[in-house]
C-alpha cells in the first residue's frame, strides 16, 4: 500500500455529495480499483500481519466523531472497529443471517475477502464487481444488480459477524479449524421465559447488518452480498427495519418505537469513547486466549421482538406510562425532569409507591439494576405486514452491541423476561448472537482476518 493511499478511517465521513458511480472509470478515480483490492485481499501472511499491526496501532487512540444525521454521504469502511456500530444510526436496516454451506476453510476465507471488497465499494456509493451494473459484456449478467445506480451512498455501513455455529456444530464438529478460537461468551443465547422463538428467525453462521438512510441502498447491499455468497453461504433469515429506534450520537434526537415512546434515551453514544471501551469493545484479554482475535470487536445481540400492537393501543395512557416508566409526551422519567434527566428510583409518590413503578421497563433495564452494565442499542422498528388475523406483524428488531453478552445482556434480559410488566405486550420471536470482528485497517486486509491467521 502506498502512503498516499492511506485510507480514510471511520473517524471521517467523506464528501456528502459522493454519488454512486455508474462507471468503472470513477472507481479508478477514487483509488478503489477492483484489481487493486483483490490483489491486496489475495496476499499472504505478511500483508495480513501488517493489517493486524495497523489495527493494534490504532487501538487505544481511536476516536469517533459523529456525523450530522442529515448527512447522506459515505461512511468510511476502514478503521479499527467496523462501521455500523458507533456510526450515527441510519434510518433503515436490512439484516441477514447466513448459513455457510461449504466445508472448505479456503472458500470461507475467500467469501470474507469478496465481501470485504464489495462492502468497501458499496459503502462508498460504488457498484460491486469489475464492471459494475452496466459496463460489462452485454452477453453477461451485470456484476452489480443496479438498483442503487444514481443513489447516494446514503451513509451505508456493512457490519459482519460470526455466529457460534461457525466454529463448531451442535455435535461438536470443528467445521473450519477454528473451534479452539471460539470466544468463551460466543454460545447460543439461553431460552428466556416467554420466548417464542422461531428457528427460521434465529441463529446463523454469519451475519450482515446493512444500514443506510435509503432503504433501497440497504437492500441492494444485502442482495449483492447474498449473490456473491451463493455456493458458499446461503441466507438463513433476514429482517428489514424501516425506522431506527435509537440514537448512537448526541447529535441525533431520540426516535420513537411502535409503542409511541422514545426509545434508547440512555443509549451509549459515539461521543463517549471511554464508555464504549468499557461496555462495547472487546478488550485484549489474557483471560480468554481463544478469543484474542476478537479484541477491538464486539458482540451483536439480535432479537426480533414482536409487539402486541392492537391490545397496546387499547391501554390507557396512564397504564402505558407506568409500564414504560417514562412520560409518553417527551420521555421524561416518571420521577420528573426532562428526557435526559437521570431517573430517581427512590422518589416516592402517592400511597408510598415509587413514582417509577417497580415493574417498569425503565427501572429493570437501567444500569443501576444491572450491575452498571450498559449497552449500545441499534435497533429498528419493523413490520412484516400482517399476521393473517388482521393484526400488524410488527415490533422492534433489537440490536445491541456489547463487550460481553454474559455480563452485558443475558442477566438484563433474564430480569426483563421475568419481571418487566411490559412483557405482556411483547413476545420475542427471533434470537441470534454474533461475534463482530474488529475493523479492516486498510485495503490489504479483510473482515475477520484475525480469526484465520
Amino acid at each position: 500500500m502506498n502512503a498516499d493511499e492511506t485510507p480514510p478511517t471511520n473517524d471521517n465521513v467523506q464528501d456528502p455529495a459522493t454519488l454512486r458511480a455508474p462507471t468503472s472509470s470513477s472507481v479508478e478515480s477514487r483509488g478503489l480499483s477492483r484489481r487493486r483490492l483483490l490483489g491486496a485481499a489475495g496476499v499472504g501472511a505478511a500483508a495480513v500481519a501488517a493489517g493486524v499491526a495497523a489495527i493494534k496501532a490504532r487501538n487505544g487512540t481511536d476516536t469517533v466523531t459523529a456525523a450530522s444525521p442529515s448527512d447522506t454521504g459515505a461512511v468510511s469502511f476502514y478503521g479499527a472497529h467496523q462501521a455500523g456500530i458507533v456510526t450515527p444510526a441510519q434510518d433503515r436496516l436490512h439484516f441477514a443471517a447466513f448459513d455457510v454451506t461449504t466445508t472448505s476453510r479456503d472458500r470461507l476465507i475467500r467469501l470474507l475477502q469478496q465481501w470485504t471488497d464489495a462492502a468497501a465499494k458499496m459503502t462508498q456509493g460504488l457498484p460491486v464487481g469489475e464492471f459494475g451494473a452496466v459496463d460489462g459484456s452485454p452477453l453477461a449478467p451485470p456484476d452489480d444488480s443496479g438498483e442503487a445506480l444514481g443513489l447516494s451512498a446514503s451513509r451505508l455501513t456493512i457490519t459482519i459477524g460470526f455466529g457460534p455455529s461457525l466454529f463448531e456444530t451442535a455435535t461438536g464438529v470443528d467445521r473450519f479449524g477454528i473451534a479452539d478460537r471460539r470466544p468463551r461468551s460466543l454460545t447460543a443465547l439461553p431460552l428466556f421465559p416467554k420466548d417464542n422463538l422461531s428457528p427460521a428467525r434465529s441463529g446463523g453462521d454469519l451475519c450482515v447488518q446493512a444500514c443506510a438512510d435509503d432503504p433501497q441502498v440497504a437492500v441492494h447491499a444485502v442482495r449483492n452480498l447474498a449473490r456473491i455468497a451463493f455456493g458458499t453461504a446461503t441466507v438463513r433469515w433476514s429482517q428489514l427495519g424501516f425506522g431506527r429506534t435509537s440514537s448512537t450520537s448526541t447529535a441525533q434526537i431520540t426516535p420513537r418505537n411502535l409503542f409511541g415512546f422514545k426509545d434508547g434515551t440512555a443509549n451509549l453514544k459515539a461521543e463517549d469513547p471511554a464508555l464504549l471501551d468499557e461496555h462495547v469493545w472487546v478488550p485484549s484479554s489474557a483471560q480468554d486466549a481463544n478469543g484474542a482475535w476478537l479484541a477491538g470487536g464486539s458482540y451483536l445481540v439480535a432479537r426480533r421482538i414482536s409487539m402486541r400492537i392492537e391490545t397496546w393501543d387499547r391501554t390507557s395512557l396512564t397504564e402505558q406510562e407506568r409500564l414504560i416508566g417514562r412520560t409518553k409526551s417527551d420521555g421524561a422519567p416518571m420521577s420528573g425532569g426532562t428526557e435526559f434527566t437521570a431517573p430517581d428510583f427512590e422518589a416516592i409518590g402517592a400511597r408510598d409507591e415509587p413514582l417509577i413503578p417497580v415493574g417498569s421497563h425503565l427501572r429493570l433495564a437501567h444500569p443501576s439494576a444491572n450491575n452498571g452494565s450498559r449497552i449500545l442499542r441499534r435497533g429498528y422498528n419493523f413490520t412484516d405486514g400482517s399476521d393473517g388475523l388482521g393484526r400488524l406483524d410488527a415490533g422492534l428488531f433489537f440490536i445491541a452491541f456489547v463487550r460481553d453478552p454474559a455480563t452485558h445482556y443475558i442477566p438484563m434480559q433474564l430480569q426483563l423476561s421475568k419481571n418487566d410488566t411490559l412483557m405482556e405486550y411483547l413476545q420475542h420471536t427471533g434470537s441470534a448472537l454474533f461475534a463482530v470482528p474488529p475493523g479492516v485497517a486498510s485495503p490489504s486486509g479483510f473482515l475477520g482476518e484475525t480469526l484465520f491467521i
Binding site: P190, L191, F192, P193, K194, D195, N196, R308, E310, T311, D313, R314, T315, S316, T318, E319, R322, T327, S329, A332, P333, M334, S335, G336, G337, T338, T341, A347, I348, G349, A350, E353, L355, P357, G359, G388, L389, G390, R391, L414, S417, K418, T421, M423, E424
Partner: protein, 395 residues
Amino acid sequence: MIALPRLRRGVVILTIIGVGSLLASCTDKADSGATKGGNEPAKLTVTATDDACTVSSADAPSGTLTFAVTNKGSKVNEFYLFAEDGVRVVGEVENIGPGLTRNLVVRIKPGTYVAACKPGMTGDGIRSDFTVTDSGEAVAAPAIETLLSEATEQYTAFVRTEADELLEKTEAFAGLYREGKDDEARASYAPTRIHWERIEPVAESFGDVDPKLDLREADLEAGQDWTGWHRIEKDLWPPANDASYVPLTTAQRAALADQLVADTKDLRGRVSVVTLSPDQLSNGAKELLDEVATGKVTGEEEVWSGTDLWDFQANVDGAKMAFEVLEPVLREKDPALLTELDERFDDVQKLLDAQKKGEGFVNYRELSPEQVKAMADAVNALGEPLSRLTAAVVL
C-alpha cells in the same frame, strides 16, 4: 397467564383520572362556553411550585374541563379539585414529578369549588376558589355514584360466586386426576376452568397465585417449578409426537392435585374479601378481551387439550358481566357506546355459538383459518370500543 397486579394498577388510574368526578353531574356534551368556542372542552393550565399554585383562570363553564398541571417546583406535587366544603374530592391528579405536566379531566356542574396544589403531597395544600359557571347545557343529576356502587356490588358478588364454583369443581377434578380416572378428568377440565377464566383479571391481581395455577409451559423460566392447570393438561393430553414425554407418577399426580386445590383455596379466600372499584370492572373487561385476542384466538392457551374456545367463551362472559352491571351508568353517560358494545358482544357470541358442540365447543384445531380470522376480527371489533369503557363510566 402473565402475573401482573393489574387491578391494583387500575386503582391508580382511577385516582389519576379523577375519582371525584363521579360526584359531579354530567352533561351530554361538554360545551366550553366562555373560554372556548364550539364543543371543545375548556382547557386550563395550573402552574404548581413548591409554594404557589396558579390556575390560569378562576372560573370556567360547566361541562368537561381539563386542567393541565405543570410542576415547576422541586417536590412531587398533587392537584385537587374540592367541592365547596373544601373536603369532598371532586377530582385529583397525583404523582406529578418535578418538571412534568399531568392532566386532570373532570365533568363538572355549575357551582363553587376549591382548587388546591399539594407540594410534597402533605398538608392542606395551597388553595384558591374556583367557580364553574353555567354553560347552558342541561345538567341532569343522575345518581351516578349510586349506580356505580350498585354495579360494583353486583360484580363483586359475581366474582365470589365464580370463585366458589371454581373451588368446588377443582376439588372434584383434582380427585379424578389423582385417582387416575383420566377420561372423567379430561371431561371436567374445561368446564372447571371456565370459572377461572371468567374472573381471570381479579385472580391475576393477586400476583403470586396466577403463576402457580395458570402458567403455560412456554412461559417457564429455566429450572422453574411448573404447577397448575397446564401442567396437568399436558399430562392428561400427552404430546402425541413427543416420544420423550414421561407420564407423571401417581405420587407426582397427587402432589400436583393437592397443590391445585390448595392454591385455589387461597384464591377463593382472597376473593372473598376483595373490594373492587368501578374502574376495575371496566379495565377488567378490557383485559379479558386482551386475553382472548392474544391467547385464545390463536390457540396458545390450551395447546394440549385444544379447549381454547371454552376459555374464549368464559373470558367473554366475564367481560359481558362487567359491561352489563355498568349498563345503567353507560346509559346515562354514553348511550352510543352502549349500543355499539351490545352489537359487538352479539357478533362475537354468534361466532362462538356456531362452534358449540354438546355442552361445550369443538376443539380449537378443528377451526379453519377463515373461522379463526373471523373470530379475531370480531374480538378486535369488540375490544376497541370496550377499551373506552373506563373513561366513559368513571369520568
